[in-house]
Amino acid sequence: MSTHHVTRSTMLSRFALVTAIALVVLLAAAPAWASTATLRLIGEVMIYLALASLWNLLAGYTGLVSVGQQAYVGFGGYMLFTLAIHAGMHPLAAIPAAGIAAALVSIPVAKLVFRLNGAYFAIGTWVVAEVFRLVFAQMSSLGGGSGSSLPITIMKEMAGSKAMRESLIYWAALMLGVGSVAFVYMLLRSRIGLALTAIRDSETASLSLGIAIPRIKLAVYVCVSAATAMVGSLIFLQKLRIAPDAAFSVNDWTVLVIFMVVIGGIGTIEGPIIGTILFFILREFLADLGSIYLMILGVLAIVIMVISPKGIWGLVSDRLGISLLPVGYRVETREDLR
Protein backbone atom coordinates (compact mmCIF):
# COMPACT_ATOMS: atom_id res chain seq x y z
CA MET A 1 0.00 0.00 0.00
CA SER A 2 1.41 3.38 -0.81
CA THR A 3 0.26 6.88 0.02
CA HIS A 4 1.08 10.10 -1.78
CA HIS A 5 2.45 12.96 0.13
CA VAL A 6 3.00 16.45 -1.19
CA THR A 7 6.10 18.17 0.03
CA ARG A 8 8.58 20.85 -0.83
CA SER A 9 11.65 19.75 1.00
CA THR A 10 13.76 16.75 0.31
CA MET A 11 16.54 15.22 2.36
CA LEU A 12 18.97 16.97 0.06
CA SER A 13 17.31 20.36 0.30
CA ARG A 14 17.24 20.17 4.10
CA PHE A 15 20.92 19.31 4.03
CA ALA A 16 21.55 22.23 1.64
CA LEU A 17 19.72 24.63 3.92
CA VAL A 18 21.72 23.59 6.97
CA THR A 19 24.96 23.89 5.00
CA ALA A 20 23.95 27.32 3.72
CA ILE A 21 23.22 28.57 7.22
CA ALA A 22 26.55 27.27 8.45
CA LEU A 23 28.28 28.96 5.53
CA VAL A 24 26.60 32.29 6.25
CA VAL A 25 27.72 32.10 9.89
CA LEU A 26 31.25 31.36 8.73
CA LEU A 27 31.16 34.28 6.29
CA ALA A 28 29.77 36.62 8.90
CA ALA A 29 32.81 35.87 11.01
CA ALA A 30 35.14 36.52 8.07
CA PRO A 31 36.55 39.83 9.41
CA ALA A 32 38.02 37.74 12.23
CA TRP A 33 39.75 35.21 10.00
CA ALA A 34 40.21 36.70 6.54
CA SER A 35 42.78 39.12 5.18
CA THR A 36 41.67 42.49 3.85
CA ALA A 37 42.09 41.29 0.27
CA THR A 38 39.99 38.17 0.89
CA LEU A 39 37.37 40.26 2.68
CA ARG A 40 37.12 42.57 -0.32
CA LEU A 41 36.89 39.65 -2.72
CA ILE A 42 34.07 38.02 -0.74
CA GLY A 43 32.37 41.41 -0.51
CA GLU A 44 32.54 41.76 -4.28
CA VAL A 45 31.19 38.23 -4.76
CA MET A 46 28.28 39.14 -2.46
CA ILE A 47 27.56 42.31 -4.41
CA TYR A 48 27.42 40.42 -7.69
CA LEU A 49 25.42 37.62 -6.08
CA ALA A 50 22.85 40.23 -5.08
CA LEU A 51 22.75 41.82 -8.55
CA ALA A 52 22.53 38.40 -10.21
CA SER A 53 19.73 37.12 -7.98
CA LEU A 54 17.76 40.31 -8.42
CA TRP A 55 18.14 40.35 -12.19
CA ASN A 56 17.17 36.69 -12.29
CA LEU A 57 13.99 37.45 -10.37
CA LEU A 58 13.18 40.17 -12.87
CA ALA A 59 14.09 38.38 -16.11
CA GLY A 60 13.90 34.70 -15.25
CA TYR A 61 10.74 34.67 -13.15
CA THR A 62 8.81 37.81 -14.03
CA GLY A 63 9.64 37.98 -17.75
CA LEU A 64 10.93 41.55 -17.42
CA VAL A 65 14.20 41.25 -19.32
CA SER A 66 15.85 44.51 -18.39
CA VAL A 67 19.23 45.52 -19.72
CA GLY A 68 18.99 48.80 -17.84
CA GLN A 69 19.48 47.81 -14.22
CA GLN A 70 22.62 49.96 -14.20
CA ALA A 71 20.14 52.83 -13.91
CA TYR A 72 19.43 51.79 -10.32
CA VAL A 73 23.01 50.87 -9.45
CA GLY A 74 24.13 54.35 -10.47
CA PHE A 75 21.10 56.02 -8.96
CA GLY A 76 21.74 54.28 -5.63
CA GLY A 77 25.35 55.37 -5.69
CA TYR A 78 24.47 58.97 -6.43
CA MET A 79 21.74 58.96 -3.78
CA LEU A 80 24.22 57.81 -1.16
CA PHE A 81 26.67 60.56 -2.13
CA THR A 82 23.93 63.18 -2.13
CA LEU A 83 22.49 62.12 1.22
CA ALA A 84 25.88 61.75 2.88
CA ILE A 85 27.47 64.91 1.49
CA HIS A 86 24.55 67.31 1.21
CA ALA A 87 22.13 66.02 3.86
CA GLY A 88 24.76 64.84 6.34
CA MET A 89 23.21 61.41 6.65
CA HIS A 90 25.19 58.50 8.09
CA PRO A 91 26.45 56.49 5.06
CA LEU A 92 25.02 53.19 6.30
CA ALA A 93 21.65 54.81 6.93
CA ALA A 94 21.82 56.29 3.45
CA ILE A 95 21.80 52.79 1.94
CA PRO A 96 18.16 51.97 2.78
CA ALA A 97 17.24 55.59 2.09
CA ALA A 98 18.68 55.21 -1.41
CA GLY A 99 16.57 52.09 -1.79
CA ILE A 100 13.40 53.95 -0.87
CA ALA A 101 14.27 56.79 -3.26
CA ALA A 102 14.84 54.28 -6.06
CA ALA A 103 11.52 52.57 -5.34
CA LEU A 104 9.77 55.93 -5.74
CA VAL A 105 11.61 56.72 -8.98
CA SER A 106 11.02 53.24 -10.40
CA ILE A 107 7.23 53.63 -10.36
CA PRO A 108 6.98 56.31 -13.07
CA VAL A 109 9.81 54.58 -14.97
CA ALA A 110 7.79 51.35 -14.92
CA LYS A 111 4.70 53.18 -16.14
CA LEU A 112 6.70 54.16 -19.21
CA VAL A 113 8.76 51.09 -20.02
CA PHE A 114 5.93 48.64 -19.31
CA ARG A 115 4.32 49.99 -22.45
CA LEU A 116 6.99 48.17 -24.43
CA ASN A 117 6.63 44.46 -24.98
CA GLY A 118 9.18 41.73 -24.57
CA ALA A 119 12.45 42.49 -26.22
CA TYR A 120 11.59 46.15 -26.81
CA PHE A 121 11.14 46.46 -23.07
CA ALA A 122 14.81 45.50 -22.77
CA ILE A 123 16.02 48.33 -24.96
CA GLY A 124 13.56 50.74 -23.35
CA THR A 125 15.11 50.10 -19.95
CA TRP A 126 18.48 50.78 -21.51
CA VAL A 127 17.28 54.15 -22.78
CA VAL A 128 16.11 54.99 -19.27
CA ALA A 129 19.53 54.11 -17.89
CA GLU A 130 21.13 56.35 -20.50
CA VAL A 131 18.79 59.17 -19.50
CA PHE A 132 19.83 58.70 -15.87
CA ARG A 133 23.49 58.84 -16.85
CA LEU A 134 23.08 61.95 -18.97
CA VAL A 135 20.99 63.72 -16.32
CA PHE A 136 23.48 63.01 -13.53
CA ALA A 137 26.28 64.14 -15.84
CA GLN A 138 24.48 67.49 -16.04
CA MET A 139 24.27 67.97 -12.26
CA SER A 140 27.12 70.24 -11.30
CA SER A 141 26.44 69.85 -7.56
CA LEU A 142 27.42 66.18 -7.96
CA GLY A 143 30.50 66.91 -10.02
CA GLY A 144 28.89 66.74 -13.45
CA GLY A 145 30.63 64.53 -15.97
CA SER A 146 33.78 64.13 -13.92
CA GLY A 147 32.00 62.97 -10.77
CA SER A 148 32.79 63.51 -7.11
CA SER A 149 34.47 61.87 -4.11
CA LEU A 150 33.20 61.07 -0.63
CA PRO A 151 35.06 63.29 1.88
CA ILE A 152 37.18 61.31 4.32
CA THR A 153 35.48 63.06 7.26
CA ILE A 154 32.25 61.29 6.37
CA MET A 155 34.02 57.96 6.32
CA LYS A 156 35.63 58.73 9.68
CA GLU A 157 32.18 59.41 11.11
CA MET A 158 31.06 55.98 9.99
CA ALA A 159 33.76 54.25 12.02
CA GLY A 160 37.00 55.39 13.53
CA SER A 161 39.34 52.68 12.28
CA LYS A 162 39.91 51.60 8.72
CA ALA A 163 39.54 47.95 9.71
CA MET A 164 36.17 48.65 11.25
CA ARG A 165 35.03 50.51 8.14
CA GLU A 166 36.13 47.60 5.96
CA SER A 167 34.23 45.20 8.22
CA LEU A 168 31.07 47.32 8.20
CA ILE A 169 31.06 47.53 4.42
CA TYR A 170 31.75 43.80 4.21
CA TRP A 171 28.83 42.98 6.52
CA ALA A 172 26.57 45.23 4.52
CA ALA A 173 27.62 43.41 1.34
CA LEU A 174 27.05 40.05 3.02
CA MET A 175 23.60 41.16 4.14
CA LEU A 176 22.67 42.34 0.67
CA GLY A 177 24.05 39.22 -1.03
CA VAL A 178 22.50 36.68 1.30
CA GLY A 179 19.45 38.88 1.78
CA SER A 180 18.78 39.04 -1.97
CA VAL A 181 18.96 35.28 -2.38
CA ALA A 182 16.76 34.79 0.68
CA PHE A 183 14.31 37.44 -0.55
CA VAL A 184 13.97 35.79 -3.95
CA TYR A 185 13.63 32.37 -2.32
CA MET A 186 10.95 33.50 0.14
CA LEU A 187 9.10 35.47 -2.53
CA LEU A 188 8.95 32.49 -4.84
CA ARG A 189 7.64 30.26 -2.07
CA SER A 190 4.90 32.77 -1.32
CA ARG A 191 1.62 33.19 -3.16
CA ILE A 192 3.28 35.77 -5.39
CA GLY A 193 5.75 33.10 -6.41
CA LEU A 194 2.92 30.80 -7.43
CA ALA A 195 1.39 33.64 -9.44
CA LEU A 196 4.74 34.33 -11.11
CA THR A 197 5.07 30.69 -12.11
CA ALA A 198 1.56 30.77 -13.51
CA ILE A 199 2.34 33.93 -15.48
CA ARG A 200 5.48 32.40 -16.86
CA ASP A 201 3.62 29.29 -17.97
CA SER A 202 0.77 31.15 -19.61
CA GLU A 203 0.04 34.82 -19.31
CA THR A 204 -3.39 34.47 -20.90
CA ALA A 205 -4.42 31.63 -18.64
CA SER A 206 -3.30 33.54 -15.56
CA LEU A 207 -5.25 36.59 -16.65
CA SER A 208 -8.36 34.47 -16.88
CA LEU A 209 -7.65 33.09 -13.42
CA GLY A 210 -7.83 36.64 -12.14
CA ILE A 211 -4.18 37.03 -11.29
CA ALA A 212 -3.39 40.73 -11.26
CA ILE A 213 -0.42 40.45 -13.61
CA PRO A 214 0.37 44.15 -14.09
CA ARG A 215 0.32 44.76 -10.34
CA ILE A 216 2.56 41.79 -9.59
CA LYS A 217 5.01 42.77 -12.31
CA LEU A 218 5.08 46.34 -11.05
CA ALA A 219 5.62 45.20 -7.46
CA VAL A 220 8.52 42.95 -8.45
CA TYR A 221 10.05 45.68 -10.61
CA VAL A 222 9.87 48.22 -7.78
CA CYS A 223 11.30 45.82 -5.18
CA VAL A 224 14.15 44.76 -7.46
CA SER A 225 14.91 48.38 -8.35
CA ALA A 226 15.03 49.38 -4.70
CA ALA A 227 17.29 46.47 -3.79
CA THR A 228 19.52 47.11 -6.81
CA ALA A 229 19.89 50.74 -5.73
CA MET A 230 20.89 49.63 -2.23
CA VAL A 231 23.55 47.41 -3.76
CA GLY A 232 24.64 50.32 -5.95
CA SER A 233 24.94 52.67 -3.00
CA LEU A 234 27.14 50.15 -1.21
CA ILE A 235 29.33 49.68 -4.30
CA PHE A 236 30.13 53.38 -4.41
CA LEU A 237 30.45 53.70 -0.66
CA GLN A 238 33.28 51.20 -1.01
CA LYS A 239 34.78 52.89 -4.08
CA LEU A 240 34.56 56.34 -2.38
CA ARG A 241 34.28 57.91 -5.84
CA ILE A 242 31.44 58.20 -8.29
CA ALA A 243 31.26 59.41 -11.89
CA PRO A 244 28.45 58.96 -14.41
CA ASP A 245 30.23 56.57 -16.75
CA ALA A 246 31.24 54.20 -13.97
CA ALA A 247 27.96 54.54 -12.10
CA PHE A 248 25.78 53.73 -15.11
CA SER A 249 28.12 51.27 -16.82
CA VAL A 250 26.12 48.73 -18.77
CA ASN A 251 29.12 46.40 -18.92
CA ASP A 252 29.89 46.30 -15.20
CA TRP A 253 26.38 46.25 -13.76
CA THR A 254 24.33 44.50 -16.42
CA VAL A 255 26.40 42.61 -19.00
CA LEU A 256 28.46 40.70 -16.44
CA VAL A 257 25.40 40.07 -14.30
CA ILE A 258 23.44 38.69 -17.24
CA PHE A 259 26.31 36.41 -18.17
CA MET A 260 26.47 35.08 -14.62
CA VAL A 261 22.77 34.32 -14.54
CA VAL A 262 22.61 32.83 -18.03
CA ILE A 263 25.65 30.62 -17.51
CA GLY A 264 24.50 29.50 -14.07
CA GLY A 265 20.89 28.98 -15.05
CA ILE A 266 18.22 31.59 -15.60
CA GLY A 267 14.88 31.04 -13.89
CA THR A 268 16.38 28.94 -11.12
CA ILE A 269 17.34 30.05 -7.61
CA GLU A 270 20.60 28.14 -7.68
CA GLY A 271 21.64 29.45 -11.12
CA PRO A 272 22.80 32.95 -10.09
CA ILE A 273 24.74 31.50 -7.16
CA ILE A 274 26.57 29.02 -9.37
CA GLY A 275 27.03 31.61 -12.12
CA THR A 276 28.51 34.16 -9.72
CA ILE A 277 30.95 31.68 -8.20
CA LEU A 278 31.93 30.37 -11.64
CA PHE A 279 32.41 33.92 -12.89
CA PHE A 280 34.84 34.73 -10.11
CA ILE A 281 36.75 31.48 -10.57
CA LEU A 282 37.05 32.15 -14.31
CA ARG A 283 38.13 35.69 -13.59
CA GLU A 284 40.97 34.50 -11.37
CA PHE A 285 42.40 32.57 -14.31
CA LEU A 286 41.38 34.62 -17.31
CA ALA A 287 41.14 38.24 -16.21
CA ASP A 288 44.58 38.95 -17.68
CA LEU A 289 43.18 38.24 -21.13
CA GLY A 290 41.09 41.42 -20.91
CA SER A 291 38.73 41.71 -23.80
CA ILE A 292 39.25 38.07 -24.82
CA TYR A 293 37.92 37.11 -21.41
CA LEU A 294 34.69 38.96 -22.19
CA MET A 295 34.50 37.26 -25.57
CA ILE A 296 34.86 33.87 -23.90
CA LEU A 297 32.00 34.76 -21.55
CA GLY A 298 29.92 35.87 -24.53
CA VAL A 299 30.54 32.64 -26.41
CA LEU A 300 29.80 30.61 -23.28
CA ALA A 301 26.51 32.46 -22.80
CA ILE A 302 25.49 31.89 -26.43
CA VAL A 303 26.41 28.21 -26.37
CA ILE A 304 24.48 27.71 -23.15
CA MET A 305 21.43 29.57 -24.45
CA VAL A 306 21.40 27.44 -27.60
CA ILE A 307 22.02 24.01 -26.07
CA SER A 308 20.68 24.38 -22.53
CA PRO A 309 18.57 27.50 -21.92
CA LYS A 310 18.36 26.66 -18.22
CA GLY A 311 22.11 26.98 -17.86
CA ILE A 312 24.52 24.79 -15.99
CA TRP A 313 22.16 24.31 -13.08
CA GLY A 314 19.39 23.31 -15.47
CA LEU A 315 21.60 20.58 -16.91
CA VAL A 316 22.52 19.32 -13.46
CA SER A 317 19.04 19.35 -11.98
CA ASP A 318 17.47 17.74 -15.05
CA ARG A 319 20.05 14.97 -15.04
CA LEU A 320 19.80 14.29 -11.34
CA GLY A 321 16.30 15.52 -10.61
CA ILE A 322 17.47 17.51 -7.62
CA SER A 323 16.79 20.95 -6.29
CA LEU A 324 18.77 22.47 -3.46
CA LEU A 325 16.43 25.37 -2.81
CA PRO A 326 13.06 23.99 -3.88
CA VAL A 327 10.24 26.43 -4.51
CA GLY A 328 7.86 24.03 -6.23
CA TYR A 329 5.99 21.12 -4.74
CA ARG A 330 6.72 17.50 -5.38
CA VAL A 331 4.65 14.40 -4.92
CA GLU A 332 6.36 11.75 -2.88
CA THR A 333 5.15 8.21 -2.78
CA ARG A 334 5.58 6.51 0.52
CA GLU A 335 5.50 2.77 0.79
CA ASP A 336 3.49 1.90 3.85
CA LEU A 337 3.85 -1.68 4.93
CA ARG A 338 0.79 -2.64 6.82
Binding site: A59, G60, V65, V67, K111, L112, V113, R115, L116, G118, A119, Y120, A122, I123, G124, W126, V127, V128, E130, V131, L134, V135, A137, Q138, G145, V250, N251, V255, I258, F259, V262, I266, S291, I292, L294, M295, L297, G298, V299, A301, I302, M305, V306, P309
Partner: protein, 288 residues
Protein backbone atom coordinates in the same frame (compact mmCIF):
# COMPACT_ATOMS: atom_id res chain seq x y z
CA UNK B 1 16.97 81.39 -40.37
CA UNK B 2 19.22 79.87 -37.70
CA UNK B 3 16.56 77.53 -36.34
CA UNK B 4 15.37 76.48 -39.78
CA UNK B 5 18.91 75.54 -40.63
CA UNK B 6 19.22 73.51 -37.43
CA UNK B 7 16.02 71.64 -38.18
CA UNK B 8 17.11 70.91 -41.76
CA UNK B 9 20.52 69.66 -40.64
CA UNK B 10 18.78 67.54 -38.01
CA UNK B 11 16.49 66.06 -40.65
CA UNK B 12 19.48 65.09 -42.76
CA UNK B 13 21.10 63.34 -39.78
CA UNK B 14 17.75 61.68 -39.24
CA UNK B 15 18.24 59.91 -42.54
CA UNK B 16 21.22 58.14 -41.01
CA UNK B 17 19.16 57.19 -37.96
CA UNK B 18 16.50 55.81 -40.27
CA UNK B 19 19.18 53.61 -41.82
CA UNK B 20 20.10 52.40 -38.32
CA UNK B 21 16.45 51.64 -37.68
CA UNK B 22 15.25 50.06 -40.92
CA UNK B 23 17.08 46.76 -40.51
CA UNK B 24 15.89 46.51 -36.91
CA UNK B 25 12.32 47.20 -37.94
CA UNK B 26 12.45 44.66 -40.78
CA UNK B 27 13.59 41.67 -38.74
CA UNK B 28 11.25 42.54 -35.91
CA UNK B 29 8.42 42.62 -38.43
CA UNK B 30 9.27 39.28 -40.00
CA UNK B 31 10.31 37.22 -36.97
CA UNK B 32 9.69 39.29 -33.83
CA UNK B 33 13.42 39.22 -33.19
CA UNK B 34 15.04 42.19 -31.51
CA UNK B 35 18.70 42.12 -32.33
CA UNK B 36 20.65 43.66 -29.46
CA UNK B 37 23.83 43.36 -31.53
CA UNK B 38 22.34 45.52 -34.30
CA UNK B 39 24.39 48.58 -33.39
CA UNK B 40 27.58 46.58 -33.03
CA UNK B 41 26.98 45.05 -36.44
CA UNK B 42 26.72 48.59 -37.86
CA UNK B 43 30.09 49.41 -36.34
CA UNK B 44 31.46 46.05 -37.50
CA UNK B 45 30.41 46.95 -41.06
CA UNK B 46 32.18 50.30 -40.70
CA UNK B 47 35.39 48.50 -39.71
CA UNK B 48 34.97 46.04 -42.56
CA UNK B 49 34.72 48.98 -44.97
CA UNK B 50 37.79 50.48 -43.31
CA UNK B 51 39.78 47.30 -43.97
CA UNK B 52 38.50 46.98 -47.54
CA UNK B 53 39.54 50.58 -48.22
CA UNK B 54 42.94 50.02 -46.63
CA UNK B 55 43.53 47.00 -48.84
CA UNK B 56 42.13 48.28 -52.12
CA UNK B 57 42.14 52.05 -51.91
CA UNK B 58 38.49 52.16 -52.95
CA UNK B 59 36.28 55.17 -52.28
CA UNK B 60 34.02 54.54 -49.24
CA UNK B 61 30.93 54.48 -51.44
CA UNK B 62 32.59 52.01 -53.80
CA UNK B 63 33.46 49.82 -50.82
CA UNK B 64 29.74 49.19 -50.45
CA UNK B 65 30.03 46.80 -53.38
CA UNK B 66 32.06 44.53 -51.13
CA UNK B 67 30.67 45.38 -47.70
CA UNK B 68 26.96 45.05 -48.49
CA UNK B 69 27.12 41.50 -49.93
CA UNK B 70 29.58 40.42 -47.24
CA UNK B 71 27.30 41.70 -44.49
CA UNK B 72 24.24 40.11 -46.11
CA UNK B 73 26.02 36.76 -46.35
CA UNK B 74 27.08 37.06 -42.73
CA UNK B 75 23.49 37.81 -41.71
CA UNK B 76 22.19 34.83 -43.65
CA UNK B 77 24.71 32.52 -42.00
CA UNK B 78 24.16 34.00 -38.55
CA UNK B 79 20.43 33.40 -38.81
CA UNK B 80 20.70 29.86 -40.16
CA UNK B 81 23.56 28.86 -37.90
CA UNK B 82 22.61 30.40 -34.57
CA UNK B 83 19.56 32.63 -34.33
CA UNK B 84 17.06 30.18 -35.84
CA UNK B 85 17.85 27.79 -33.02
CA UNK B 86 16.72 30.36 -30.47
CA UNK B 87 13.45 31.37 -32.06
CA UNK B 88 10.57 30.05 -30.02
CA UNK B 89 7.71 31.48 -28.02
CA UNK B 90 10.18 32.50 -25.34
CA UNK B 91 11.76 35.89 -26.03
CA UNK B 92 14.65 35.31 -23.68
CA UNK B 93 17.00 33.11 -25.77
CA UNK B 94 17.21 35.33 -28.89
CA UNK B 95 17.58 38.40 -26.70
CA UNK B 96 20.39 36.93 -24.66
CA UNK B 97 22.14 35.36 -27.64
CA UNK B 98 22.24 38.66 -29.54
CA UNK B 99 23.31 40.32 -26.30
CA UNK B 100 26.25 37.91 -26.09
CA UNK B 101 26.98 38.56 -29.74
CA UNK B 102 27.09 42.29 -29.03
CA UNK B 103 29.76 41.83 -26.37
CA UNK B 104 31.74 39.49 -28.61
CA UNK B 105 31.70 41.93 -31.55
CA UNK B 106 32.73 44.90 -29.40
CA UNK B 107 35.66 43.07 -27.89
CA UNK B 108 36.69 41.44 -31.14
CA UNK B 109 36.81 44.88 -32.78
CA UNK B 110 38.82 46.14 -29.84
CA UNK B 111 41.30 43.27 -30.21
CA UNK B 112 41.67 43.70 -33.96
CA UNK B 113 41.52 47.47 -34.39
CA UNK B 114 42.41 48.82 -30.89
CA UNK B 115 40.36 51.46 -29.12
CA UNK B 116 41.57 54.29 -31.39
CA UNK B 117 38.79 55.99 -33.27
CA UNK B 118 38.81 55.86 -37.06
CA UNK B 119 37.07 57.59 -39.89
CA UNK B 120 36.51 56.92 -43.56
CA UNK B 121 37.59 59.66 -45.92
CA UNK B 122 35.20 60.41 -48.77
CA UNK B 123 37.25 63.27 -50.16
CA UNK B 124 35.48 66.17 -51.81
CA UNK B 125 32.03 64.58 -51.44
CA UNK B 126 32.39 64.89 -47.72
CA UNK B 127 33.18 68.60 -47.53
CA UNK B 128 31.21 69.86 -50.53
CA UNK B 129 27.92 71.65 -50.06
CA UNK B 130 25.55 73.94 -51.87
CA UNK B 131 23.55 76.87 -50.64
CA UNK B 132 19.81 76.28 -50.64
CA UNK B 133 19.04 79.83 -49.61
CA UNK B 134 21.46 82.22 -47.91
CA UNK B 135 22.16 80.83 -44.46
CA UNK B 136 21.18 77.25 -45.25
CA UNK B 137 23.94 75.12 -46.68
CA UNK B 138 23.21 71.53 -47.59
CA UNK B 139 26.18 69.18 -47.52
CA UNK B 140 26.36 66.76 -50.44
CA UNK B 141 27.13 63.85 -48.20
CA UNK B 142 24.34 64.40 -45.62
CA UNK B 143 21.96 64.86 -48.54
CA UNK B 144 23.19 61.64 -50.13
CA UNK B 145 22.69 59.82 -46.82
CA UNK B 146 19.18 61.18 -46.52
CA UNK B 147 18.25 60.26 -50.09
CA UNK B 148 19.75 56.79 -49.58
CA UNK B 149 17.53 56.28 -46.56
CA UNK B 150 14.47 57.21 -48.61
CA UNK B 151 15.60 54.90 -51.40
CA UNK B 152 16.17 52.00 -48.99
CA UNK B 153 12.75 52.40 -47.40
CA UNK B 154 11.10 52.70 -50.79
CA UNK B 155 12.88 49.63 -52.12
CA UNK B 156 12.01 47.55 -49.07
CA UNK B 157 8.43 48.75 -49.29
CA UNK B 158 8.22 47.61 -52.92
CA UNK B 159 9.85 44.31 -52.06
CA UNK B 160 7.55 43.66 -49.12
CA UNK B 161 4.28 44.66 -50.70
CA UNK B 162 4.75 43.98 -54.40
CA UNK B 163 6.87 40.87 -54.79
CA UNK B 164 6.46 37.14 -54.16
CA UNK B 165 9.34 37.28 -51.69
CA UNK B 166 7.63 40.06 -49.75
CA UNK B 167 4.43 38.02 -49.72
CA UNK B 168 6.34 35.16 -48.13
CA UNK B 169 7.88 37.53 -45.55
CA UNK B 170 4.45 38.80 -44.56
CA UNK B 171 2.88 35.35 -44.55
CA UNK B 172 5.59 33.94 -42.29
CA UNK B 173 5.24 36.96 -40.03
CA UNK B 174 1.44 36.52 -39.84
CA UNK B 175 1.34 32.79 -39.17
CA UNK B 176 4.58 30.81 -39.15
CA UNK B 177 2.71 27.50 -38.95
CA UNK B 178 0.36 27.96 -41.89
CA UNK B 179 3.10 29.58 -43.99
CA UNK B 180 4.80 26.16 -44.06
CA UNK B 181 1.62 24.74 -45.59
CA UNK B 182 2.18 27.19 -48.46
CA UNK B 183 5.66 25.82 -49.03
CA UNK B 184 7.58 28.51 -47.12
CA UNK B 185 10.76 27.24 -45.50
CA UNK B 186 10.53 29.60 -42.54
CA UNK B 187 14.16 29.17 -41.56
CA UNK B 188 15.31 30.34 -44.96
CA UNK B 189 12.78 33.16 -45.03
CA UNK B 190 14.18 34.35 -41.69
CA UNK B 191 17.71 34.02 -43.06
CA UNK B 192 16.82 36.17 -46.07
CA UNK B 193 15.22 38.76 -43.81
CA UNK B 194 18.38 38.89 -41.73
CA UNK B 195 20.47 39.15 -44.89
CA UNK B 196 18.39 42.12 -46.03
CA UNK B 197 18.63 43.70 -42.61
CA UNK B 198 22.40 43.29 -42.68
CA UNK B 199 22.63 44.80 -46.16
CA UNK B 200 21.02 47.95 -44.75
CA UNK B 201 23.27 47.70 -41.69
CA UNK B 202 26.29 47.75 -44.01
CA UNK B 203 25.07 50.92 -45.71
CA UNK B 204 24.40 52.51 -42.34
CA UNK B 205 27.89 51.57 -41.17
CA UNK B 206 29.62 53.12 -44.17
CA UNK B 207 27.58 56.32 -44.08
CA UNK B 208 28.18 56.62 -40.34
CA UNK B 209 31.91 56.09 -40.76
CA UNK B 210 32.20 58.84 -43.37
CA UNK B 211 30.18 61.27 -41.28
CA UNK B 212 31.98 60.88 -37.96
CA UNK B 213 34.69 59.09 -36.02
CA UNK B 214 33.88 55.60 -34.86
CA UNK B 215 35.33 53.24 -32.26
CA UNK B 216 34.52 49.67 -31.12
CA UNK B 217 32.11 50.76 -28.38
CA UNK B 218 29.80 53.00 -30.37
CA UNK B 219 27.39 50.19 -31.25
CA UNK B 220 24.99 50.26 -28.31
CA UNK B 221 24.09 53.91 -28.77
CA UNK B 222 23.46 53.31 -32.51
CA UNK B 223 21.13 50.47 -31.47
CA UNK B 224 19.34 52.83 -29.12
CA UNK B 225 18.95 55.54 -31.78
CA UNK B 226 17.62 52.99 -34.24
CA UNK B 227 15.27 51.57 -31.65
CA UNK B 228 13.95 55.02 -30.74
CA UNK B 229 13.29 55.77 -34.40
CA UNK B 230 11.33 52.50 -34.74
CA UNK B 231 9.16 53.17 -31.68
CA UNK B 232 8.60 56.85 -32.50
CA UNK B 233 7.51 55.93 -36.02
CA UNK B 234 5.32 53.02 -34.97
CA UNK B 235 6.02 49.29 -35.19
CA UNK B 236 5.76 47.59 -38.55
CA UNK B 237 5.72 50.71 -40.69
CA UNK B 238 8.92 51.46 -42.60
CA UNK B 239 7.85 54.93 -43.69
CA UNK B 240 7.03 55.57 -40.05
CA UNK B 241 10.53 54.42 -39.14
CA UNK B 242 11.95 56.97 -41.59
CA UNK B 243 9.81 59.66 -40.00
CA UNK B 244 10.94 58.46 -36.56
CA UNK B 245 14.57 58.80 -37.59
CA UNK B 246 13.97 62.33 -38.84
CA UNK B 247 12.16 63.34 -35.65
CA UNK B 248 15.02 61.95 -33.57
CA UNK B 249 17.59 63.77 -35.70
CA UNK B 250 15.76 67.07 -35.35
CA UNK B 251 15.30 66.59 -31.59
CA UNK B 252 19.02 65.98 -31.16
CA UNK B 253 19.97 68.95 -33.33
CA UNK B 254 17.69 71.25 -31.38
CA UNK B 255 18.93 69.82 -28.06
CA UNK B 256 22.54 70.36 -29.08
CA UNK B 257 21.75 73.96 -29.90
CA UNK B 258 20.41 74.56 -26.39
CA UNK B 259 23.40 72.91 -24.69
CA UNK B 260 25.94 70.49 -26.22
CA UNK B 261 25.35 68.11 -23.30
CA UNK B 262 21.68 67.96 -24.23
CA UNK B 263 22.06 66.56 -27.75
CA UNK B 264 21.53 62.87 -27.00
CA UNK B 265 19.39 63.54 -23.95
CA UNK B 266 16.92 65.59 -25.99
CA UNK B 267 16.47 62.66 -28.37
CA UNK B 268 15.83 60.28 -25.46
CA UNK B 269 13.34 62.69 -23.91
CA UNK B 270 11.37 63.05 -27.14
CA UNK B 271 11.28 59.26 -27.32
CA UNK B 272 10.03 58.96 -23.73
CA UNK B 273 7.40 61.65 -24.27
CA UNK B 274 6.09 59.84 -27.33
CA UNK B 275 6.12 56.58 -25.39
CA UNK B 276 4.07 58.29 -22.68
CA UNK B 277 1.48 59.98 -24.86
CA UNK B 278 1.35 57.68 -27.88
CA UNK B 279 2.88 54.29 -27.08
CA UNK B 280 1.86 52.80 -30.42
CA UNK B 281 4.09 55.36 -32.17
CA UNK B 282 3.10 58.14 -34.52
CA UNK B 283 2.31 55.99 -37.55
CA UNK B 284 1.45 52.45 -36.45
CA UNK B 285 0.67 49.78 -39.01
CA UNK B 286 -2.95 49.02 -39.62
CA UNK B 287 -3.92 51.31 -42.44
CA UNK B 288 -2.41 50.06 -45.67
Amino acid sequence: MGWINIVIQGMLVGGLYALFATGLSLIFGVMRLVNIAHGDLIIGAAYLAYTVIQLTGLHPLASLVVVVPAAAAFGYGLQLGILNRTLDKDILPPLLVTFGLSVIIQNALLEIYSADSRKLNAGSLEIGSFSLVPGIDIGYFPLLTFLSAIAVVWALQVLLFHSPAGRAFRAVSDDPEVSQLMGCDNRRVYAWAMALSMAVVAMAGVFLAVRANFDPFMGPSRLIFGFEAVIIGGLGNLWGTLAGGIILGVAQAVGAQIDPGWQVLAGHLVFLVILAVRPQGLFPRGVT
